[in-house]
Symmetry: none
Subunit: 155 residues, 2 copies
């Protein structure tokens, strides 16, 4: 007897696979109605399954006509991407980040501009935070940015 969360996850993955694009758009309340559960259950599934670590990107909009857009991985993703996500899975020092970005650039997976963008973002984004949080937040940001790059083709 699988979880409802697993069922919803499977449903969304199925939708993603059948989609022409690599993204689908849903409404939280519709999905909740479909599975006869609380809307926050849908949020839970998104927060625990469709996360950058797994190569997903979720964008939302509130208010009337609000929606949730889920973008998934390209069918075949270079192993290096996966490793990069893996490396960024918990904490990421600034020097490890620089090294990782260098690898991605040398492998031709990101452009020089993208590399600089990643670097500056990872350096600056943590400045207002207490030291102990730096590496963790940096890893979090890195994962999101990696997921973005992984899921978008050239131009």
């Amino acid at each position: 007897m699988p979880n409802l969360a697993d069922v919803i996850e499977a449903y969304l993955v199925e939708l993603l696979q059948q989609a022409e694009q690599r993204s689908i758009v849903i409404q939280r309340s519709d999905l909740a109605a479909l599975f006869a559960c609380a809307p926050s259950q849908v949020s839970y599934v998104l927060q625990t399954r469709f996360i950058p670590q797994r190569g997903y990107l979720v964008e939302t909009r509130r208010g009337g006509g609000g929606y949730i857009r889920i973008t998934g991985l390209l069918p075949s993703v270079d192993e290096l991407w996966r490793q990069a996500l893996e490396i960024s899975s918990f904490a990421l020092t600034i020097s490890d980040a620089r090294h990782l970005i260098g690898l991605l650039y040398q492998a031709g997976l990101i452009t020089a501009r993208e590399a600089r963008l990643l670097r500056v973002a990872l350096e600056r984004a943590v400045l207002r935070l207490e030291q102990p949080w730096h590496d963790e937040v940096r890893a979090e940001l890195m994962r999101s940015m990696l997921a973005t790059l992984m899921t978008s083709r050239e131009e």
Copy 2:
């Protein structure tokens, strides 16, 4: 099903693109009649979309023969970079950030991937901070990233 506000916005943008000049003149009540909505709905669209932060200028005149003129500012490339920095000089809401990124992309100053990268970075980077700081920190990060992009024109 998109919002009426989005539909009206798209309609006006379309008009602007087809216009010989860079500006169009409309009447609030006409537009309201066209879309079968309250006139104040039109005002709402103007106030939330066609604002200076997004590159538009709106001039109005009341009374008999009143009108609304919308001008789309199409700055030069250098001017656009400058304006982007200007807009990000102090505080930057997430929705203004998104539109600014859209402008840069439409002007061909950044690629689609770079646009996504900027967007996700600006969204995620502030999550661990208290609300009041979000817009300020976002502006700071945006400036850093803009500076990086400005100074590395080619791949």
